[in-house]
């Protein structure tokens, strides 16, 4: 059959198919509008398979490049419409937080303890060292920052309550700073895990230095009532960012039975789910930090109790949630 006969026989079908694809491509995935199609949706796969067959024929008969290119493009567009993944739903998010996320954390228990050690050991070590010798803090912080720090937690300052609008400003600041830090800790993991380990270590040292210094200066009341509320969620979030990052690094260093790139893709798809959970934890922490921790009207006993309950909740959540669900 000559090319022109072939084209004449099918051109109406191709035009209709192109028009259909255009409608599908323009449909916004945000809105779940009913199909505006004159044809039932089940006909798309059949039409696509017919097109694939016509493309194969056109290629094997060596029809012109222009015709082959046109049919290939139609086939690619149909392929992208047909084989697209399902769109996320909010119920899926809830399901993820209640079972999938804690399960994934437990599945990575080894890395979790490694990252916890990389974070808490420098924290404790630096904390004790600075407590013994407060001037050690100048190895990490500039003198002006130390003065700021002391002023921030000075007991007199406690009487001055922050305005509600300033709470909101701090909420924005914590969101951007802390979650951004978590994302960077994750991303740094792809550099053979070095980036994640470095971020964990650095944060451990900083937090340890600040805690040790303020304890040594006797500013314990103002400092610990402030950090008690959100500590459980924030510190755990940082460790989890490290876990997600180390997974990337480990996949590159020791891919096991997979190729390096396949192992990396697998680790990344696991890691990004840990990061999703981390984002939820750090958002909660930022909320508590901005609106609860900063409220000086609440007595210290209540703040410590709430902080303790936070730790209990996070431990129960990560160790128990989703246990009975396969």
């Amino acid at each position: 059959m000559k090319q022109r006969q072939f084209e004449r026989r099918h051109s109406a079908e191709w035009q209709a198919f192109a028009a259909r694809l255009e409608r599908l491509e323009r449909r916004s995935p945000l809105k779940n509008t009913p199909q505006p199609e004159p044809l039932p949706v089940l006909e798309l796969p059949a039409a696509y398979r017919r097109l694939c067959q016509q493309l194969a024929i056109a290629r094997s008969r060596c029809y012109s490049n222009a015709l082959n290119a046109r049919l290939s493009q139609l086939a690619l567009r149909a392929y992208q419409q047909l084989y697209r993944g399902p769109q996320g739903r909010w119920q899926a998010m809830l399901q993820f937080l209640s079972t999938d996320f804690p399960q994934r954390v437990r599945a990575n228990a080894g890395l979790f303890w490694l990252c916890a050690a990389l974070f808490y050991l420098p924290l404790l070590g630096m904390g004790l060292a600075v407590y013994q010798a407060p001037e050690l803090i100048y190895s990490l912080l500039a003198p002006e920052r130390v003065t700021d720090l002391e002023a921030m937690y000075a007991p007199g300052q406690a009487a001055v309550d922050r305005a509600a609008s300033s709470d909101l400003a701090m909420f924005g600041y914590y969101i951007r700073n802390n979650i951004g830090l978590g994302f960077r800790t994750f991303a740094g993991g792809i550099l053979l895990g070095v980036g994640s380990a470095f971020m964990l270590l650095l944060n451990g040292l900083f937090i340890g230095a600040v805690s040790g210094y303020l304890t040594a200066k006797g500013l314990t009341e103002t400092f610990y009532t402030f950090v008690a509320g959100h500590g459980a969620f924030e510190l755990t979030g940082i460790v989890l960012a490290g876990v997600a990052g180390m997974k990337l690094g480990w996949a590159v260093v020791a891919p096991g039975r997979w190729s390096r790139s396949a192992a990396l893709r697998q680790a990344a798809s696991d890691g990004v789910r840990l990061i999703l959970g981390m984002t939820a934890l750090l958002t909660l922490a930022a909320f508590i930090e901005a609106f609860w921790s900063s409220n000086h009207a609440i007595p210290a006993e209540i703040k410590y109790t709430v902080g303790g309950i936070g730790w209990l909740l996070i431990i129960l959540y990560l160790s128990r949630a989703g246990r009975d669900v396969a």
Binding site: Q3, A75, L168
Partner: protein, 231 residues
């Protein structure tokens, strides 16, 4: 048609229906330009929001910081999932992001590839990202490698080409490749100016024994006959 491996950026994917489709990977220059356009849009939007919120007190600044956070990390992922695989910058340059098998990106891959620029950017100005792009044939930066994604060119729709009308002549004996060459030339000649058409047709003077536009017309007549326009 198995062809010898050429040095090009086309990646072939095989579909479950047993046909192969081609994707053209986009290189660093086009992607850097798209990135610059996106950066400009992000800055403008944030600046506009800052001015709008400046009338409010400190609380407005908190809202702006959250917007800054979302723009920094989620702007590309949102567009890539909900706007046909392309941020405005990529759309302007005719690029789109797809999975390595050619399917549209989902949330998981879009998030991975847009969190990892933090590593791609190191040590300065996408240093590691560049090294990664130049060390694999699909120009994937670290984020693309981890997410299993490609940035490809999205071609404008190809329309049906028609041969210019006229008489058809049976050509002398030609191999299949030669027949294709003549049809391709004539189909493409509609977008070339007459002087260029004549110049190309004169390469075949030994075959047509004609020069200038007469050669072009002879090739057109052959093409019409080969494609079946005479019936």
């Amino acid at each position: 048609m198995p062809e010898p491996a050429l040095l090009d950026t086309v990646r072939q994917i095989e579909t479950p229906e047993g046909i192969t489709l081609s994707l053209r990977a986009a290189g660093p220059v086009a992607r850097a330009l798209a990135w610059s356009i996106d950066l400009l849009i992000q800055c403008m939007a944030l600046l506009a929001l800052l001015i709008a919120l400046a009338t409010l007190s400190q609380g407005g600044f908190g809202v702006w910081l959250i917007a800054l956070f979302l723009t920094e990390w989620l702007y590309p992922a949102l567009f890539e999932v909900y706007a046909g695989g392309a941020t405005p910058g990529k759309k302007a340059l005719g690029l789109m992001v797809v999975h390595a098998n050619g399917t549209p990106v989902g949330w998981s891959a879009a998030l991975i590839r847009n969190l990892l620029p933090a590593a791609d950017f190191l040590p300065v100005l996408y240093g590691f990202g560049m090294v990664a792009m130049f060390s694999n044939r699909d120009f994937q930066r670290l984020g693309d490698l981890a997410a299993g994604t490609l940035v490809i060119y999205r071609d404008p729709p190809i329309l049906a080409l028609t041969l210019p009308p006229g008489p058809a002549l049976p050509p002398p004996s030609l191999s299949l490749a030669e027949q294709q060459l003549i049809i391709d030339f004539v189909e493409r000649s509609t977008i070339l100016n007459p002087a260029r058409q004549a110049e190309l047709a004169e390469l075949l003077t030994g075959f047509t024994r004609l020069t200038g536009m007469a050669g072009v017309e002879r090739l057109q007549a052959y093409a019409r006959w080969l494609a079946g326009d005479h019936s």
